[in-house]
Amino acid sequence: MPYQTVTDERKQIETSGLTPEQLLEALRKMHLIRAFEEKAEALYALGKIHGTMHLSIGQEASAVGACLALRPDDTILSTHRGHGHCIAKGAEPPLMMAEFFGKEVGYCRGRGGSMHIADVAGGNLGANGIVAGGLPISTGVGLSLQMQHTDRVCLTFFGDGAANEGAFHEALNLAAIWRLPVVYVCENNQYAMSMPMKAAFPIRQISERAAAYGIPGVTVDGNDLLAVYEAVQTAVSRARAGEGPSLIENVTYRWRGHSKSDRQRYRTRDEVKEWQARDPIIRLENLLVGADLFTAEQLADLGAEARQTIEDSVAFAEAQADPDPATILEGVYA
C-alpha cells in the first residue's frame, strides 16, 4: 500500500462523509464480530455447540462497511457466513448467542442455529444454508419495496461461489429489467470451500458480470471499510432514486477454514499469513489514528470491551431454557 500522510487520511474520511462517531461505531462492530466468532469457535471446540459454523474472521470490513450505508428500515439477506452481517445490521449479541446455543429465546427459537440466524424485526431476513439461496429472494424484496412505493432498499450478501449458481443470473437479470432497488454485494474471499475463484471463473473480476445485465459493477478492496462504504453508498443512492440495482464485489479473504471440518489442503499457510497481515480492523484503526481523529490509547480497549460483551452474551445464553420438545410442531404453518 502506498505511504499515506495524515492529510491523505483526513481527506479520505472527509470525502466519505462519515463522522468520527460513525467510524468509531463501525470499529466497535468489527471488534464485536471478531469477538463473537472467536468465541463461537472456542465454544465449538469445547463441545458446547453442535452442528457446524462458517466464520467470517478477516472479512469484517465488508459486512460493516456495507451495512453502514443502510438505514435501519432497509432489509438485508445474508449467507451461511452470516454472523458478521447480522451484527453489522444491528442484531443483539445475547440473542444471537442464545440462538447459537439453540435456546428458546434465541432469534429463531433455537430452530435455526448459526446457519439460519435471522432478525426479522431488525431487517435481516437471515443467514442461509443454501449458496445463492438469498439472491432470488432479495430480488423479490426489491420488487415489494418498489410496489409499495417506498424508498427503502434491499442489500444482499453472497459469496464468489454463489455467483456460479443459475439463481445469480436470474435474480440480477430480473432486478435489472424491473429496475428494482437491490444492492448485490459479492464477498469474494477467493475460495468457495476448496474451489479457488481463479479456477471457477474465466474472468478476473466477478463485477465484470454486471455488464451482462446492463447495471453498474465495481470491485473494491473489501478489507478497506471506507472503500466498501463508498461503493455501497453509491449503489444505495441509485436504488433509492429508482435507478435500479448494482453489483459490488468486495475482495477479501477468510482466515479460517470453510467450516469446522476443513483440512485446508487447497491453500498454503503463507497465503493465509499474507492476508492476515491485511487485517481490516487494524487497517481501520490505523486510518483513524493516522487522521488524528482518535489516539491509539482511545482505541486500545475496544477489543477487550467487545470480548466482554460477548462473554456476557454467553453467560446470558447459557442461562436460558431449551425449547420444549412438545412445541416441535409449532411454526411450520401460519
Binding site: 453442535h50 442455529g113 439460519h116 449458481e165 443459475g166 476448496s194 489442503r265 416441535i328 411450520v332
Partner: protein, 345 residues
C-alpha cells in the same frame, strides 16, 4: 442370503471374511474399482478433488485418477446433473455427487424432466447410464437446509432408480451395480452411516438392484426400515429379544424398483408390521410399503393394523433435543414394536 448374492454376482471367492471397512471407505472402494475397470467412469461434483468430498468419501481418488476423472465443479447443481446426463447419453458413465441431498432441489429439472425421461421420449433409442450420489439425513446439527431425506420424490419419477444402502457391504455392492446399470440411479447415502463399520470383501462384486434383504429373522413383528433406520431397528431388535419379542428386520435397499415380495413373505409369517423411515411420514416411502402390503397376499395375514414410524412433518430443527425428537430413535422403535407385538395399539 448375503453370501449367496455375493457369489452369484461376482463369481469370485470370498477373501478375508472378517475384513471390516467403514461405509464411506466402502463407497470409495467401489468408485476406485469402477474407475479402474472402465475408462468411461468418471466423477464430478463440488469439492470432491483435493478436499476429498464434504464427508471425505472421495479422499485420495484425485491422486490416483487425476483431475480429469475426478472433476471439481463450481457450485452449480443444475449443471452437475445436466452434465452427467449429457455425458451419459453420449458414451460416458458419470458418477455425479451432490454435496448434500438438500441441494438436489437445484438439480430437479435436469434429473426429473430430462434424464429420467430421455430414454422413453426418444423411443428407447437413448440411455442415460449415470449415478448421482448424495448424502441425506439429519443428526449432525446442520439444521433444516442440510438434513433433508428426499428419496420419496425420486421414487415418484418413472425412469429413475433409487438406492439407499444401510451397510458398508451393501453400499459397495449396490454402488457397483448402480454404475453398471444403464439407467439414471439416485444413490442416497446417510451422513451418520459414513463412519459405521461392517464386513466388506475385497475386489469387485455387485449387490443386485431391486432386492430387499432380511437383515435379521424373527417371528413376531416385521420391521421394514431404510437407511439409518436399519441399524436402529437392529438395535431395537436386540433390546426386545431380551423381552422375548423377536423382530424380523427387512431392508428394501432399493426403493425403486421396489422388491415388495420379500416384505410380503415376512408379513405372511409375522402378521404384524412396523415401517420405519427418517423422512416425514406424509407421502413418505412407508406409504408405498404399506399400500403394497394391503394390496396383496399379505393382507389376509395381517393380525394388526400396519404401523408407520417416521419423521415428523416438520423441517429439521437445529436444537439437539428437537432434532432428535423430529426423527425416529431406537427407543421409539422399541416402543412401537413392543406395542404391536403385545396388541396394544
Amino acid at each position: 442370503m448375503r453370501e449367496q448374492v455375493l457369489e452369484k454376482a461376482s463369481g469370485e471367492p470370498l477373501q478375508a471374511a472378517n475384513r471390516e471397512l467403514t461405509y464411506s471407505h466402502a463407497i470409495r472402494e467401489a468408485l476406485q474399482l469402477a474407475m479402474r475397470r472402465d475408462e468411461r467412469v468418471f466423477m464430478l461434483g463440488e469439492d470432491i478433488g483435493v478436499y476429498g468430498g464434504a464427508f471425505g468419501v472421495s479422499d485420495g481418488l484425485i491422486e490416483e485418477f487425476g483431475a480429469e476423472r475426478v472433476r471439481d465443479t463450481p457450485i452449480s447443481e443444475a449443471v452437475i446433473a445436466g452434465a452427467a446426463i449429457g455425458a451419459a447419453v453420449t458414451g460416458m458413465r458419470p458418477v455425479a455427487e451432490i454435496q448434500f441431498m438438500d441441494f438436489i432441489t437445484l438439480s430437479m429439472e435436469q434429473l426429473v424432466l430430462q434424464g429420467a425421461k430421455m430414454r422413453f421420449m426418444f423411443g428407447g433409442k437413448a440411455s442415460v447410464p449415470m449415478v448421482l450420489r448424495t448424502p441425506a439425513g439429519s443428526g449432525t446439527g446442520a439444521a433444516a437446509q442440510h438434513s433433508e431425506s428426499l428419496e420419496a420424490w425420486f421414487v415418484h419419477v418413472p425412469g429413475l432408480k433409487v438406492v439407499m444402502p444401510s451397510t458398508p457391504y451393501d453400499a459397495k455392492g449396490l454402488l457397483l451395480a448402480a454404475i453398471e446399470d444403464d439407467n439414471p440411479v439416485i444413490f442416497v447415502e446417510h451422513k451418520l452411516l459414513y463412519r459405521t463399520k461392517g464386513h466388506v470383501p475385497e475386489g469387485y462384486y455387485t449387490v443386485p438392484l431391486s432386492q430387499s434383504e432380511v437383515k435379521r429373522e424373527g417371528r413376531d413383528v416385521t420391521v421394514v426400515a431404510t437407511s439409518i433406520m436399519v441399524p436402529r431397528a437392529l438395535e431395537a431388535a436386540d433390546l426386545l429379544a431380551q423381552e422375548g419379542i423377536e423382530l424380523e428386520v427387512v431392508d428394501p435397499r432399493t426403493l425403486k424398483p421396489y422388491d415388495a415380495d420379500t416384505v410380503t413373505r415376512s408379513v405372511c409369517k409375522t402378521g404384524r408390521v412396523l415401517i420405519v423411515h427418517e423422512a416425514p411420514k406424509t407421502a413418505g416411502f412407508g406409504a408405498e410399503v404399506a399400500a403394497e402390503i394391503v394390496a396383496g397376499e399379505a393382507f389376509d395375514y395381517l393380525d394388526a393394523p400396519i404401523r408407520r414410524l417416521a419423521g415428523l412433518d416438520v423441517p429439521i430443527p437445529y436444537n439437539r433435543e428437537l432434532e432428535r425428537t423430529a426423527v425416529p430413535q431406537v427407543a421409539d422403535i422399541v416402543r412401537e414394536a413392543r406395542a404391536l407385538a403385545r396388541g396394544e395399539y
